[in-house]
Symmetry: C2
Subunit: 585 residues, 2 copies
Amino acid sequence: MYRTHTCGELRLENKDTKVTLSGWVQRSRDLGGMTFVDLRDRYGITQLVFDLQKEEALCMSARKLGREFVIQIIGNVIERSNKNNQIPTGEIEVEVEKLVILNGSKTPPFTIEDESDGGDDLRMRYRYLDLRRNPVKNNLMLRHQLSMETRNYLSQNGFLEVETPCLIKSTPEGARDFVVPSRMNPGQFYALPQSPQTFKQLLMVSGFDKYFQIVKCFRDEDLRADRQPEFTQIDCEMAFVEQEDILNTFEGMVRHLFQKIKGHKMDVIPRMTYDEAMEKYGSDKPDIRFEMTFNDLTGLTQNKGFKIFDEAEAVLAIVAKGQAEYTRKQLDHLTDYVRREQIGAKGMVYVKYNADGSLKSSVDKFYTENDLLDWANHCGAEKGDLILLLSGVKTKTQKQLSELRLYLGEQLSLRNPAVYKPLWVVDFPLLEWDEETERFHAMHHPFTSPKKEDFEKMESDPGAVRANAYDLVINGVEIGGGSIRIHDRKIQERMFDLLGFTKEEAENQFGFLLSAFEYGAPPHGGIALGFDRLSSMFGGKDSIRDFIAFPKNNAGRDVMIDAPAFIAKEQLDELYLNVLPFVKK
Amino acid sequence: MYRTHTCGELRLENKDTKVTLSGWVQRSRDLGGMTFVDLRDRYGITQLVFDLQKEEALCMSARKLGREFVIQIIGNVIERSNKNNQIPTGEIEVEVEKLVILNGSKTPPFTIEDESDGGDDLRMRYRYLDLRRNPVKNNLMLRHQLSMETRNYLSQNGFLEVETPCLIKSTPEGARDFVVPSRMNPGQFYALPQSPQTFKQLLMVSGFDKYFQIVKCFRDEDLRADRQPEFTQIDCEMAFVEQEDILNTFEGMVRHLFQKIKGHKMDVIPRMTYDEAMEKYGSDKPDIRFEMTFNDLTGLTQNKGFKIFDEAEAVLAIVAKGQAEYTRKQLDHLTDYVRREQIGAKGMVYVKYNADGSLKSSVDKFYTENDLLDWANHCGAEKGDLILLLSGVKTKTQKQLSELRLYLGEQLSLRNPAVYKPLWVVDFPLLEWDEETERFHAMHHPFTSPKKEDFEKMESDPGAVRANAYDLVINGVEIGGGSIRIHDRKIQERMFDLLGFTKEEAENQFGFLLSAFEYGAPPHGGIALGFDRLSSMFGGKDSIRDFIAFPKNNAGRDVMIDAPAFIAKEQLDELYLNVLPFVKK
């Protein structure tokens, strides 16, 4: 037996017990005639003590232990004279009688501490060492806990976890698929699923009525920061339900998770239509931890000779409470921020509603103090507040002002990561018009059902059709989304048609689903939550990477195992494949 | 709301309740002035009744309902005059007031009954209809229950579920990998994991100490019956353990599963060495639900002039208790059985130890009745028993006799699928010699640790080295296997060397693991259980296919979605790939 106890469990009650421990040497100190070794395992740290006078040979071997050596010891639990109340085992130490070196270690390339000196690249190359650090280890433990509680909640609510296949068929719609050549079917390929969408719908047709799966999905996208080619989602579907049933069920799940993981009783999750979210926050995933909602000043600001506003489709404003004393430098900084290429505003107008009741703006040339007071009143601004205005094409201005709002919220510490404010955004449009390709794209996906009351507009005004689609947003981050699905072959065909599929393409790619709809498909709908993102959200972190045991970098590489890699010619031959010449990127 | 109750929950207590139900029309019968419809959902069947006299229009619409129509009804729960005690809802029926057809259905291509009239191909093509049948549905519900209980047990025992990557690196050792071309890294490929082996070992190096994952794995093998290109395993690893710790932990898991799923308290799982299993059963996965162990008659049978036995390396016998009265025809049938190409025996010798004490054999020409009595005594045969002998090269004879034993066990109803007899087979050889390639292969895999006491033989006699490897066998089926792993770089290098890897190949494929062993790798080991197989075992079935929601056929095809399939030239171009001409199979 390698151990009787872990390094995290011994307490004063264990005094005078003979114990066997195994673990890693975290650090070691020689103080006079004593050597102290901090022994670490997954559960904690226990201090070992070696006495040079009592056990000279043993102490001398202890002095040779390097960082990260794996050792086993036998010894007696004794009370510390110098207690450490920073750690749970801090009242005791183990006086070692026997020491076995289980494995040595080279000096690690970075320190195995909460704050490591290792850069990202080095940490990823030696990920197995990085995973020894508490913050990363705790993230993965949290993830485990989240997956267990998710499964418990869903299972207790009658959901069945059903595994759907990983080797499926490529559908060119949407993001790019990863494909897998089939040796047994030369020239043909499987695709890895971007989601189990069609399979979970088929399970509804099969009568499984409450399905879930915590499942790997794959997307061959050009990776932006914090995107992974393989990611995990909590995938769910229900039959004989309306939108309301689904929102309630998954609101219940979110509450359950906050209760179990955070010990936090959550309020009812508010709901907001897509239109309202866009009008008030300029975003379909508003961070509602703070107000600072949009005000439309278009009417009040035009026809006073300020050309930029006069030519704008929209003039929108937000109010930063109590920030009238912003300096010129701070305001310039905000202007620079919105002018960055990623945001793209031309400029920013400010109005200071000073504490003394006077008003001062960057467009005083065009507007009287009374004009400014009208603006302030319209925005609900008070003395001491700062008003910021952006203008231009409405949708662009909304996006820009949303960025400014979030940035200001950050600056003013209004976005506390310990505060969680979930929100349902509902009534998304069914379609969005793509200027480039001059056709409609599905806002959610091609299987989303239009609202019944908008059915007729499918013909007359497709762009105005609203969908039974909803997103779960927490603190301004989209955690999940779903919809009521189409379960009628005719409507599904019309949808494919609107999306530019020919009849043949629709049949070729989704014939099995269309066919299934003819054999008694029930009304159904579902949701999928990003599990990596949910984990990082519960961990209070922005990046998902340290919530994944072995993530890939932005080039889609696993630098630890060095994948992807070239494969043997024999492997290619068996697949009847040939790699064409390419220019190395 | 689509329903207030499911079709499985109404009882006599619900009498006079107004309910809303939704589901599928299982069947409908017109009896005089009444129409009865069986409404089905995942939870059961409820009888609906329509009265022609009371509600003529309603009843007429009910008469138009076809099989598998999806309907919603509102009605009153009433007591049946004609109770059906075959189903839980059999004491009531629902008198319908309102009927809504939610979706129609074409006539299904096969009957949705426990015993369907659909052939395999048709059932696979319309898998979404096949999944409506109780036997298949129940299999998937059992699978869900098994996965939940597996997770509960492991989590309660301190195991963490950690997801390992799906896009990894191809290693030509072992079975063939499925590969995935990387668009962002032209000419390079990921591979899908055959198992998370190296990653779980790295997690041990990271200190995670108890890991599990229920995980999809992939093998591009020529598919034998009942093999799937993607399959699921319960993958586990532990650090600071010896073989004994692992066997105890997973024996605990098996007991937990039998207790929770079958309500069956299981005995201690016996253990048998590989050598003993081969000697007594001629198989490393013996079915110990029945005895009929092997007897070595080589010494007793040779040098009496029977050339076949004289030239054989081994003459082995089994005893079929009480079967001395087997007819000539039955014996010929057994001889034919062992002569089949898949088994390959040349012939079979029998001895009948008749009830009257006389002995009769197929080789009476060469042996006296006393000789035969010696054999019988050696085998522990009694009057009334039948002795069957096979001979030849020892290993081949063992395999052949094992097949004969299993076949006889089947014929004599000694293999009751309701009886579960698990067994640990331990002390597997580390290596097996491959005659064809004239080199050693790893019996388990290249990371398996030799037994300490056999370390020296790694140099002097590699073929005799035993491994710390073990299999879990239930009823003659290998459910799982594992080993203590190597955690020392030098031993791992020696192992690669024995397996014919060059230093460069070892470094190129497994450099990250060898490197990890230099940074404080703890002793560790693990196990993996086939989850599809485990499910079918618990379901009392031989085939795994109906325990997988969407399985592939023997050509690796999903005939429902028609995958794999050809992909667009643009997709190939982006991957810098070209499909070579091939002869269509």
